[in-house]
């Protein structure tokens, strides 16, 4: 069987939007320091996973996506 992609396009968008909304992920390319293995998305994902008591992988695994898709308060989890 063909393996489905690890993170379908829709999920990438979910992660991006979630981190922008609640974890102050900045999408302005100039502000993001491009360091190998330390992308802001990974760092913010780890922050989010730690907050929710998930396994801290820095990857948008199934459990992380499940939490991200739950309805919630619109106030960011970190300071804006």
């Amino acid at each position: 069987f063909p393996t489905p992609p690890e993170t379908p396009e829709q999920d990438v968008e979910t992660v991006q939007k979630y981190l922008e909304n609640y974890y102050n992920l900045k999408t302005d390319g100039d502000q993001i320091a491009k360091q190998k293995n330390k992308s802001p998305v990974v760092e913010k994902l780890k922050q989010m996973q730690e907050f929710f008591g998930l396994k801290v992988t820095g990857k948008p695994d199934a459990d992380t996506l499940k939490v991200m898709k739950q309805p919630r308060c619109g106030v960011p989890d970190v300071a804006r």
Binding site: N21, Y22, F51, F52, G53, K55, V67, Q70, P71, R72, C73, G74, V75, D77, A79
Partner: protein, 367 residues
């Protein structure tokens, strides 16, 4: 708990609020009552007092809006963001906005207005999102039937405004910590190959594929079950889990509570009326025998004959030597009973009637 960065707070403990407009989803009186109750939760735990205004500018302005409503956080249609609130301060400060694209309810259906209002007001008063899943200030919507401040919420609001002037200080429920050596359980059951541990409003769940313990509200699976269940067991031949509280029990299959429940334990199982509640229960899949533990005695029920076996109740201490004379919770795995009493766990071999090991209460949680 988490305080809003910069620790903004109201200087005055007497605050006003106004409901600017009403959702068409609920009668106005229901919205008024939901807000009143939500404010009451926070005033009961702090020196804060709230007065409702019917016109003019209030400290906390409450409104139902949708989409881009001209603040920095547009709403996103049904689901997703349900509401938001602003930290203490002038103008927009303290204000609460509910997404009118949601369906607002005053029951267990999505989304309970009182529950969401209680959370948002926490922000209006200076609290951020808590990492405690049992706290009102946890960011995700969870409705377990009752809305109350947890001890974490109380600690948070009192860290900002001090304790309540009432002589009796409020005490909130604590969220169980799976790796706390002082943890005790209300009930434990197997469920389709997994083990589910129940405590107050919460379940803790482990299985071999996912080694991390999952902690969440019982209502996530079964919104119609009460909190504080006292016993549970799996009747595997019928693919049913039975939950007990007082003299009532509920049967569930998967996530569905079966119709016709709760039922009375006397009528269904044949307990005398003097038995008011069950401490613990476990069923042997091989024999179809179910053991009910009540105080220092136990009863045996035949799942096939659907009747209580004769000669019961018997003394726990006599037939299960070494486990004491009271059981909080029990389950069966790989032919062994695991009895729990207080912070102790006993692995018991029913064939030899011997305790094989005394274990820590949370030995199943990979702590």
């Amino acid at each position: 708990f988490v305080l809003t960065p910069g620790q903004p707070q109201w200087e005055n403990t007497s605050l006003t609020y106004r409901i600017e407009n009403y959702t068409p989803d609920l009668p106005r009186a229901v919205v008024d009552r939901a807000m009143e109750k939500a404010f009451q939760l926070w005033s009961n735990a702090s020196p804060l007092r709230f007065t409702k205004l019917s016109e003019g500018q209030a400290d906390i302005m409450i409104s139902f809006v949708w989409g881009d409503h001209r603040d920095n956080s547009p709403f996103d249609g049904p689901g997703g963001n349900l509401a938001h609130a602003f930290q203490p301060g002038p103008n927009l400060g303290g204000d609460v906005h509910f997404d009118e694209d949601e369906r607002w309810t005053n029951d267990f259906r999505d989304y309970n207005l009182y529950r969401v209002a209680a959370h948002e007001l926490g922000h209006s008063l200076g609290l951020g999102h808590s990492t405690d899943i049992g706290a009102l200030m946890y960011p995700n919507y969870i409705f377990s039937g009752d809305v109350q401040l947890s001890q974490d919420d109380i600690n948070g609001i009192q860290a900002i405004y001090g304790s309540s002037p009432n002589s009796e200080q409020p005490v909130g429920p604590q969220t169980p910590q799976p790796c706390d050596s002082k943890l005790t359980f209300d009930a434990i059951t197997t469920i389709r190959g997994e083990i589910m541990f129940l405590k107050d409003r919460f379940y803790m769940r482990v299985n071999s594929y996912y080694p991390e313990v999952e902690l969440n509200f019982i209502s996530v699976f079964w919104p119609h079950l009460p909190n504080g269940l006292q016993a549970a067991y799996e009747a595997a031949s019928r693919d049913e889990i039975r939950f007990f509280k007082g003299n009532k029990y509920w049967a569930v299959q998967g996530q569905n509570v079966l119709r016709g429940y709760p039922k009375d334990i006397s009528t269904s199982f044949g307990f005398p009326q003097t038995v008011k509640n069950i401490d613990a229960a476990v069923s042997e899949e091989e024999t179809g025998k179910t053991y009910f533990f009540v105080a220092d005695k136990y009863w045996r029920y035949d799942e096939y004959k659907r009747s209580m076996d004769v000669g019961y109740p018997k003394m726990i201490a006599y037939d299960f030597p070494g486990i004491g004379n009271k059981v909080d919770a029990v389950f069966m795995k790989d032919g062994f009973f695991y009895f729990f009493h207080g912070t102790r766990q006993y692995k018991f071999d029913p064939k030899t009637k011997r305790v094989l090991a005394i274990l820590k209460v949370n030995s199943w949680f990979n702590c």
